[in-house]
């Protein structure tokens, strides 16, 4: 049992962040299109120093550039071959780590966690959780982002129903494009494009969304992850991933709920599902990022487990829970500045 899973995860996130934002400095300038070209994390191709990039760019480009041409030629092979190759590359990587890409690899996810730490250390008022109603309203947005911005709009553009500006609409509004390029010292992706009304609307939306994400991440956990199309894309394939979150709950779970409280994605089903089952059940839900915080903060032995190839790699235990809770309390008590009265009183 490791001393602190969150510390291990943050170390991996930091390494992956450096690799995905600045990695070309280490592994070579031209490496970005050599490693996979389709990593299921929001590592932006517009970052000139990264070492690999996001699957969403090739997906949108293949729909935009090839679907219409394939329809015109009556040759679907010329569209399906590259499209399925990208999805296949993504699937291959995804099978190995499942949704852990979101919680352990994605640079935008890590950036939001860092912003949340900064907010906490500045003593800003923390929004522990969104209401159940708000969560239920937000959950479908990621599917709309995937279906609408990544698939439907580029496809309609390719078929001639929309103007060319809508060929890669998700990239136009993606906050990771702005975040990763700003962190390499370039402000080239923070702009308002005045060349057409569509580009102007998309670029203003992207800039506004970036500012909104930064502000919300200071007080709320993972605001953009909740609507990210990558989360939805992962969710489609989550049943074939080798990494899983499993639960074998008991009647105590109904009264506890510490797992749901620890979850940065507000998955309340962690508390209510699989509480009287004979065998551990897969509870890797659509919004799960396999961060493992629910397992860390579960006080009962082996109720929650992270498994790889069905072998437990990290399990909940009373001893770990006590240590972890104590460490968290100590960490939360350290504040550099106390901006919020309510947060000061909590300490």
């Amino acid at each position: 049992m490791c001393a602190n899973l969150t510390l291990v995860r943050r170390s991996v996130q930091l390494l992956m962040f450096v690799f995905l934002v600045y990695g070309s400095v280490v592994i070579g300038f031209y490496a970005a299109d050599k490693i996979s070209g389709a990593l299921p994390a929001l590592s932006c191709a517009y970052d000139s120093m990264n070492a690999d990039y996001c699957a969403l760019i090739p997906l949108q480009h293949q729909l935009h550039h090839r679907l219409g041409a394939a329809a015109d030629a009556g040759n679907w092979f010329m569209f399906l071959m590259p499209f399925l190759t990208t999805v296949g590359t993504f699937l291959l990587l995804f099978v190995f780590l499942n949704k852990a890409f979101c919680g352990w690899v994605c640079p935008l996810g890590f950036f939001q966690e860092v912003m949340q730490l900064i907010g906490q250390k500045l003593g800003l008022r923390r929004v522990d959780s969104l209401t159940h109603g708000a969560v239920d309203k937000i959950r479908p947005v990621k599917w709309l982002m995937l279906g609408g911005l990544v698939l439907v709009l580029p496809a309609l553009t390719s078929l001639g129903f929309l103007s060319d500006e809508w060929g890669d609409p998700f990239c136009q509004i993606c906050p990771s494009r702005i975040m990763t390029t700003l962190l390499t010292g370039s402000n080239e992706q923070l702009f308002v494009d005045t060349s057409s009304p569509s580009y102007m609307a998309l670029s203003i939306t992207g800039d506004f969304l970036f500012g909104l994400m930064v502000a919300l991440a200071l007080t709320m956990r993972q605001p953009f992850c909740r609507i990210c199309p990558m989360l939805a894309l992962h969710a489609v394939f989550r049943k074939v991933g080798l990494a899983r979150l499993v639960k074998q709950g008991s009647s105590r779970c109904e009264k506890c709920g510490l797992c749901a409280e620890a979850c940065p994605m507000d998955i309340r089903e962690l508390q209510s599902e699989f509480n009287a089952v004979a065998r551990p059940k897969d509870i890797t839900l659509a919004d799960c990022t396999l961060c493992g915080r629910c397992v860390e903060f579960c006080p009962d032995k082996d109720v929650l487990q992270l498994r790889y190839l069905n072998v437990p790699v990290f399990s909940s235990s009373p001893a770990y829970f006590k240590r972890r809770k104590k460490a968290q309390t100590q960490w939360d008590s350290v504040k550099l500045i106390g901006f919020s009265k309510a947060e000061k009183e909590k300490v």
Binding site: G133, A215, G257, E261
Partner: protein
Amino acid sequence: MRALIVFVLWMPAFMVQADLYWQPVPGRGGAHGGAAKMFKLAEQIPDAKRTVALLHSDLQRNPLEVDKGLYRVKGSGKNNYHALVAREEGSDYRHLAVRYLYFNGKPVDSSPSDLLAESLGELEIVPDPLPREHWRYTSDKPYRFRVQFNGKPLPEQPVLVMTETGSTEILHSDSDGVLKLVIPDDFATVVPGARKNPPGELRIFSEVDREGINYQSSLSMSYYVNPSHWKSASLGAMAALGGLLFGLWLNRRLPAHSRRKKRCVQI
């Protein structure tokens, strides 16, 4: 006096002027992709011994045949950068013209670094580096090139930079043989929109004499209008600031709530 100044300014340009260079034929193939591209070799010496070859991204070399003064370069089916190389040789001269072309296709084991490391001639102007995928040469941006002779850097080497729209500049490589160049923003007319402006042509020439032999080298490339003409960074920062302020306001409005079922508060 005025004529003297013009002559003094013209002389260095003449001294580093090299003639042989690659010129794309308009309307034949894009900057990227698998489509065939058509080029002509400008300012050839009629009687020179000439060799023209395409160095593929996997470092395989294929000779190219001329057809009515044009060289047709087909997509090789291999991904990444290729080098179009022309050499002219005579008893007292060696001329080299190079142009790097991008083709889509199957991945190859070699990287553009391997391609750039290949020796194409004695005097070379080598991009350091070539633009990566999703990037291209753009006006008003800085780029680096290595000027080298027999693989060794040429310090303080004069280099002539010309665009087809008329910009001309004499630059010198630094003590490490590195040429730092900001591509001129010299498009006569700019229409808002990345795809609405045809690319310009940039040519870099250099020349040295060694042991009675004159070596000339040229590197040519397309360059594109800097999108800052229609993309405003200050407006972008304002839009992001708007999002930030809205988010900070929203933070204060969000109700405190616990996810724990037993303390659930529905609002």
